[in-house]
């Protein structure tokens, strides 16, 4: 078993394990923020479309990529590779679009440091300061952009007549390890925003959340950038 296989299994397995522990010890015991109340729009149609396409292509990329990497620790080929590269192109474009769409909302603000200092998602208190996106979301957002750039460039550079065998090896490893970290982060992101944060799945599918959900998880959402304001005041 190669180092990459070991790290993949440890990384992905560890992430799933921590998420399970978190769910059992923390998330499950949190009170449900409630639903059925008057709901506010969290994501517009454009944002939801990008998010869904990102999620689907990411899933395909992860399965096709790690199926080969963990399954037989060899490079991909055939239909698997064709699907992977096609989805990779769509995914990369979607990441660029999502950066353009959400970059402003993910700019780090002063209250983010307080969110982190209070333990963030591991805190059982309900008064964590977060705007439209929490500090965890923001960190993931920027890291995901950075890792996608690494994964994209590593493949593009290996497709042009620039790098020799050593460079190709380096690019291959950059691609593998950057995507491994991206997969681990995305697994956590998926868990944290959909399972740990009850009602998160509905938010991304319908684009709407309840006011109490917004007040609980994003109490500063609705004000100016980084400017605290009572949640739920954004018009429908």
């Amino acid at each position: 078993m190669s180092l990459f296989q070991i790290l993949s299994i440890l990384g992905i397995g560890g992430c799933v394990g921590v998420a399970l522990l978190h769910y059992v010890l923390i998330a499950r015991r949190q009170p449900h923020p409630g639903h059925g109340e008057r709901r506010v729009r969290r994501y517009n149609l454009w944002e939801r479309l990008i998010h869904v396409v990102l999620a689907v292509t990411f899933l395909v990329l992860a399965v096709t990529g790690f199926w080969a990497s963990i399954g037989w620790d060899g490079p991909m080929s055939g239909y698997n590779l064709m699907i992977h590269t096609t989805c990779g192109a769509v995914f990369a474009v979607c990441v660029a679009v999502s950066l353009l769409t959400w970059a402003a909302d993910h700019a780090l603000a002063r209250h983010d440091s307080r969110w982190l200092a209070r333990g963030g998602g591991f805190s059982t208190r309900g008064d964590l300061p977060a705007g439209r996106f929490s500090a965890c979301d923001k960190i993931y957002f920027w890291l995901a952009g950075l890792l996608t750039l690494a994964a994209l460039l590593s493949m593009l550079l290996s497709m042009i007549t620039l790098l020799g065998t050593d460079g190709q090896h380096l690019m291959y490893h950059v691609h593998r390890y950057s995507t491994l970290v991206l997969v681990i982060l995305t697994l956590w992101h998926g868990y944290a925003t959909s399972v740990a944060k009850r009602g998160g799945v509905g938010a991304i599918l319908s684009g709407r959340v309840s006011r109490s959900w917004a007040r609980r998880y994003h109490p500063l959402w609705g004000g100016g950038r980084g400017e605290p304001q009572q949640a739920g005041t954004q018009p429908d």
Binding site: G74, P75, S77, G78, Y79, L81, M82, T85, A89, A92, V93, V95, A96, L99, L100, A103, A107, L108, W142, G145, L146, T148, L149, L152, L153, M155, L156, S158, M159, I160, T161, L162, L163, G164, T165, Q168, H169, Y172
Partner: protein, 663 residues
Amino acid sequence: MTRQPTRRAVPNRWAVVGVGAVAAVVFAVAAIVIAPAGAAEPAVTHVTGSRATFVHRVPLFDSENGAVAPDKDPCMPFSYRTSCTKCHDYDQVRQGWHFNATDPEVDPGRPGQPWFWCDAKTGTVLPLSYRTWPNVWQPDQVGMSPWTFCLNFGHHLPGGGPGEKTDVKDPGARWLVAGKLGINCGACHSGSPAYDPIEWYLQIARQNFMWAAAACTDLASVTGAAASMPASYDPFMGPDDERQAKAAPAVIYDASRFNAKGEVFFDLPAQPPDMRCYFCHSLTEVGPDSPEPWATDADVHLVSGLTCSDCHRNGLDHRITRNYEGEPLGKEHPALASLTCRGCHLGEQSAACGPDTMGGRLGAPVPEHVGLPTIHLERLACTTCHAGLYPRQTTRRIQTSRAHLIEFQGPHRDPDALPRVVEPVFVRCKEDGTIGPRRMVWPAFWCRIEKSPEAHVAEKVTPLGPDTVYDMAKDAFDKEIKAKGESEGAAETNDRTGLTAERILAVLAMLKEKDEKKGEFAYVCAGKLYRAGAAGALAAADHAAAWPAAWPIGHNVRPAAQSLGTGECTDCHGFDAPIAFGEVEVPSPATIGQGVTMAMYEFQDRDPLELKAWAMSYLFRPMFKVVGFATAGVIAAILLLYLFMGLAALLRWAGTKAPPGPA
């Protein structure tokens, strides 16, 4: 005076028995200890370790270890076995790759070029080898004894191996008349420009096995032919009469070459010159579009100044390295990994045998393989891109030294001569899954079919040698047969063999008729097994016995600039890329099976639809790269923008922490 009878001392009976027993034991021990020492000289291992060439000014001995002198009568040919073994243990030498094919204990390794028993009249192309390679037959499986093997293939044997297997029962063998075909050291080691390997061929044809090695040198001339001598002829006794003396093989030495001590100078460098290797290991492209030999290049390694033996090395045991990955000899000598393509050019980290395994051995350039994803180095043999004829849409025919005697002029040099070797065929290796180029020959032979004792094999096929088939079905081969649809009296001349479906049916019927067991017979050609069908027509079927003999291409290696893929990725990934969609010719010596081809991907277990889809992706690849780099640019720009914005915010915040100063 009377003489007193003296009493004779009568020895004690038991004392006599005791002395006798002791003497017997002493003689027996002496016989055991002394006799072998006297019978055979102690083996000498002569390895100096110096790179200087040893000057071989040596006395010569005949095969019975008698000293050779030009004025001796009868004058016998010298033997390398007895002459060289004084310094080089012959029994070690005969372990070498060129001589050990008949030893069943030797690992056959990856397939090499087999010998081909060909006969145009019967349409026979039988791949033979004493090594157990796939899709080749052992000579004894087709009724070929070592004697017959030497007569058929001795022209390019370096002696030894079957040439010394005189103990195999064969009523037709004439070893006592012809002598053994011992190892001909000069075949590889002679550095003399006067050494003539063509003489070897001529002497083998005359059955002058014992004289062949001497005849090749400029030291001796050989006349006569053992083939014309009776089976009772003993070359050591000499001819019985004048008539025999004229025909008997005889050797005449150049007396001026012997010095006062009776020694002769032999130019025998330790490293064989390339010209000696080329005599058996040359090939040439044939066919309508083939270039003239002068227009082709030699292997790039040789052109660059290396010699064959720089890479293909051996010790006294002559187990020459074949230099492919996974070579059995590598188990004993791990450093051999540094003499493969990969080991020499890229280094072999796994071997960890010192500086030799670091790559760049013998000044080998380390290839950059710019723009080549590393998967290619894992899934392809180096030779796929770098060796053999540059692939075109259809495989081409080549002729080789051992199969076609390309060193000789004559009618056998027809481009359609059997066997018809095609290359390059890109085949997936079952052992490691890599794709590599092969030379390929499709077998054609008559065979007996029996039910196989093995459950997983439907029918057992036993090939018949061309002589056997012709003897059994001479009339069917020779009689004039009209092809269907031809006018009365018109003989079919479709192919040189005249093996039409009608003739094949006639031969099959005659074979069955002449066979004592009245068994079933078939003819294999063009990748199929043909037998007489129920409706009186030939019925074709697939059978493992019809699969081609194939062996990897190692040489000629082309220069890097002429490698596959130096043009475009579509050299291999295009819609019509020869490596995947090229046509492999399936030649047939009969009129049936003419024009049959197979697609290259069929030898690689690859899905043509997948290959086409992958090729299609290359249409969009330029656009893919443009979009990819543009996307990467956008992502990078946003990341940088916000990084700078963050830094600016950080600096502003740091500014607020500075001491405000006096109000």
